[in-house]
Amino acid sequence: MTQHLPILIVLCPLAAALVVPLVARVSARAARALTMLATLSSLVCAVAALRVALREGDWHYHLGGWAPPWGIEYVVDPLGGGMAVIVALLATLVSLYAGPHVRGLSSLRGAAFDSLFLLLTTGLLGIALTGDLFNLYVFLEVSSLAAYALLASGGERAVVATFRYALIGTIAASFYLLGLGYLYALTGTLNMADLAIQLEAVPPGSAMTVGIVLLVVGLAIKMAVFPLHGWMPDAYTYAPPPVTMFIAAVMSKVSAYALIRVLFFVLPAGDAVETARAVLSWVAVGGVLAGSILALAQTDVRRMLVYSSVGQMGYIVLGLSIGNAAALTGALLHVVGHAAAKGCLFGAIGSLPRQTVQAEIGGLAGAARRAPLAMAAFTIAALSLVGLPPTAGFFSKWYLLRGALDADAWLFAVVLLVSSLLGAVYFFRVLEQVYFVPDPSAPDTDVPSPASPPSWRMVVPVLTLGAAVLLIGLFNGVLVSSVIQHALPEL
């Protein structure tokens, strides 16, 4: 069994996705249990595989025994394996968190929800683990299709936004596929490791440049970087809470991972890649500033969080466009920290009882009294996004700042600091409502409001993520020296 760990990470949720609708006909409870079991076993396999990879070096798994470059291989290295652990961890927590939501649906719809959620997980895990560019495209589309269906389940407004997302997502995937076609025409291989070797020997020319541009643009669109984020606010705001929590936390991170993989591990260093990174750096600066400013302008908490995501993705892109060791460490640490923090924030907002949560920030007045634990986790995650020590966000920004200064990119350093300041403004506006403004529905503030507290199934995942944000911050040194350091490309 243990020699098949890499493929089991992906197979667990895939197999469960196919079985869950059948099981749900017999027992809805069993279907739910199966969903949670599948994500949990995927997490166990991912952690075990990553441990082996860290101890014994990169783990290359050949599907069906066909050796690359002809066969497809899965690679568990610190970067991909680490990403798989993040995705599987979030999936496990969200599958628990989704309990109350699924129970509110009919058994058919509940099974469809779980099945799609597992397919989305399968796609994201596949992207993290595959060592083949075309296989990555397939997983990209598996995850996207599942995400379209899940996002559209949030009502009429979400449907319109999702349709726009589907169009933009397909443009991105087609660009990626075309770029891959150019690289395939140049080298005759699709295996990432083999491509990296063969592309070294290819003299730079227009075909290579076009291929690189198409790949980078395609993945950047999938990440919803700044000018291409238009579909995001509506889709995330109206989708069911567990969907938003999962997709906001990991989906764009996985695309960011794919971009790092392609830019630093596949494409040869050269003018084209340098130019691509220079363009990305300006896109990132635009994203960081525009995201923070637009977040300030929102009156709906979830919309504010979406725009804050646009800004936070900007940090990650900035890190990889600066591209020295410190900046990349910061970007990867930010991938981990922001996945935990954003999942926690959306989860905490979604866990508030439907009748009391107003999307408006003002509707959160007195929320700390109604849901003290969820709001405590919300606060930790918010502080992390602002960048206060000892949370994860402080240390990732610290590394990014050091990277920017190492590269003499003073402007980027200023942008980082200014946007942190803006982040403080828009998050403290929310925290003020949560903690200091009395609940208008309960004028006598000593009496807890009659609304029932959130279900433990929702509180536990939110608290876990809140604790993770703290732990990542406190033990960032261990995380960097034992995993992230080994995940960096040779510079």
Partner: protein, 121 residues
């Protein structure tokens, strides 16, 4: 690597289809037209890949029992990749059509400016 059998013509075709598709997706205001333009764009990618597989004088990539050992085969891999891409394209179209049906049932229109007006209400 495959050689160009039909000159550059089929690449030009792929480029034209790609531009028609992108133009339609960006400029047309009717969502159904946008979806059709998306399909045209996906066909462009398929034409591009199939063109890569062409080999002048090449036979279909099927092993013939006798005397064909030296025959030049068309490259089968791009065809296999495009079979997958076609499946993806069909699934995307299916999901998008389902979304369009829901939009039309609720708003009785697929015109984007009108939809955005309704959503703002």
């Amino acid at each position: 690597m495959s050689q160009l059998g039909l000159g550059q013509l089929q690449y030009a075709l792929a480029a034209v289809l790609l531009l028609i598709g992108l133009y339609g997706m960006l400029v047309k205001t009717n969502l159904a037209r946008k979806l059709m333009a998306m399909n045209v764009m996906q066909v462009a990618v398929i034409v591009f890949f199939i063109s890569l597989a062409v080999r002048s004088g090449g036979t279909p990539p099927i092993e013939i029992a006798h005397g064909a050992a030296d025959a030049a085969y068309a490259n089968p891999l791009p065809h296999a990749l495009m079979l997958t891409a076609i499946v993806v394209s069909v699934s995307t179209t299916g999901v998008a059509l389902a979304l369009l049906i829901r939009i039309h049932r609720r708003f009785r229109t697929l015109d984007e400016p009108e939809l955005l007006d309704r959503l703002r209400e």
